[in-house]
Amino acid sequence: MKYLNEYRAPDTVKRLADAISALTTRPWRIMEVCGGQTHSILKYGIDQLLPEYVTLIHGPGCPVCVTPLTAIDKALAMARQPGVIFCSFGDMLRVPGSREDLLSVKARGADIRIVYSPLDALTIARQNLDKEIVFFGVGFETTAPATAIAVWQSKQDNLSNLSFLVCHVRVPPIVEALLVSTENSINGFLGAGHVCSIMGYQEYLPICHKHRKPIVITGFEPVDILQGIYLCLKQLEEKRYEVENQYRRVVNPNGNRTAQALMQNVFKVVDSHWRGLGKIPNSGLALSDEYNDRNAELRFDTGIDVVSEPHNCQSGQILQGLIKPPQCPEFGIRCTPETPLGATMVSSEGACAAYYRYRRHPHG
């Protein structure tokens, strides 16, 4: 496969791993922000290729994991209503709300459909004019433009039976929040490549300079990740802190202006609650007032205000990189993908699920 095989080539991987070993003189802790990177690291065993004293911390970049319980419960309440077709990306279906997940509601007869693109919800809305269609918009800046275009298009087409439950989130505020948190000892970051393909990386310059931490915008294949780690370590060893772009084949400094303009039109920046992490200022995107008529939260009265999270789930500490999943006493015992206590165990990009799938020896 072109554009994939080159980035999975064993000899390139070995060269990079050797270069990293030769470069590193002391312990460093690097956080990969994106869940897609965490998944790759565990699947390919990239952590096994690093010197022992380089530690990878798995960050909060799994949109499924950080979607707050309140939003999931609202989604469940909307999906349960008769006459509603609830559209969602596949991996949201297993995320537990307070009492159940979308799969259980679907099993009891609710019309819940997995879509690959928010635009599929438009098609479903056109084909079912007697039904109320709700699209559950979750994800970082990577998926937000797709929701934005669906919202914009539905307004153009005057489709009145489609509304949106929007819980999109932004990466830079959470990186900033992690750096401000005194508990943290992260030396550098691998920035989320796909988010930057939309947003560019100008937003990271002030964060990098204020906190004096290297940020390397990084891709998702083994060679990308190792190269990102190499660049980050090189900065650390040389006592530099800059925003560097490893993922040049996809990311340009200013990102995708068309997508950004569309997002600015459709969304407004709001404070947002992150599951396990709490409220982070300016970290969320909600529908702007102009699109109130398409806001599912205004259209449906779910009676749900704020739902508090279970106490025994340590996903907050995991999302901040304070502990690794196997260090949680519930990991693999009371908390499994079938009975998840928190969302980090559900999504394939969640750190707990990735450890459960790639590292757990089922019989000790």
Binding site: M1, L4, R8, P10, V13, K14, A17, G36, L42, K43, Y44, G45, I46, Q48, L49, P63, V64, F89, G90, D91, M92, L93, R94, L103, S104, K106, A107, R108, I114, Y116, V138, G139, F140, T142, T143, H194, P222, P326, G332, I333, T336, P337, E338, T339, S348, E349, Y356, R357, Y358, R359, R360, H361, P362, H363, G364
Partner: protein, 348 residues
Amino acid sequence: MAEINLNCPLPLPYEQIVMAHGGGGRLMQQLLDRLIQPVFDNPILAQKQDSAVITVNSAKLAFTTDSYVIKPLFFPGGDIGKLAVCGTLNDLAMSGAKPLYLSCSLIIEEGFPLADLKRILQSMQQSAQKAGVKIVTGDTKVVEQGKGDGLYINTAGIGIIESALAISPQKIHSGDSIIINGDIARHGIAIMLERESMQFDHHITSDCSDLSGIVHGLLDSGVQAHCMRDLTRGGLASVLLELASAADCHLEIDETAVPIHEAVSSACEILGFDPLYVANEGCFVLFVPEHQTYQALEILRLDPLGQQAAVIGKVIRPKPGGMVTVKTSFGTSRVLNLLSGEQLPRIC
């Protein structure tokens, strides 16, 4: 790390059936172990083979059944009829049995076009004829419109085991080579692309086929197969995990040795699927003593269904409860685990 014991009398995590209970993953295993097995409890069922092996007078018979539920009914490389015959033939073949007779039960939705039904039945007859088996009994039910996906088919099959070889997971032994006959994940991806109307430059067809011929070629040539298992909905990973657990062995797979068509692999990338967990309908894994590895490979490669046969791994050592590890092309390794249920397309 604490032991996860699937036999523990924990309640099932859901109060009603969800789709994942049929997905070939951990939830389905729980349903079998915690509900179905305990209710029907008997020593033949407890062997957990694809076919039950029963002795009637001195004849050793293999007996199996399977239901076929697939959307779309016609797909590149086959249809529900071919699938219903081949799937049951394959279950029989994996126990070393020569398939003899099949049954055919149809559950048809009101309004289903007769022309489609005829096409499907002819496809069943064709596949049966090719394998030298007869469809000798059956049943027909019609359900109201909206109560079925057009057509469901159940087939049961009976075959005779002539070889003295006892083929079962318990025969799997340290040092055995693990061989696969062909490239993986084609059926699941062909269906998914057809369902989502996705177009690829390369046309991907299902691998749906009857494996009884290739299996008998192998057994007749004197290969002492320790165990065979056809890959179905949970893919290669789920079968290996099931066998490792039944055999109490640690299996190691070399990821780069597993044959996969480039177009299938690309489609998996786009959809966010791991090909090791994608459905197959014409692939099987074979455990043979190490010294017979190349003999088995040569024989498999003589058959059109075995052109891409490859050694994909070996049995490392006994390990209570079983374990499967995957060696990557970088020399690192990871543990394989059953997925909870079906793979769900990822957000990004």
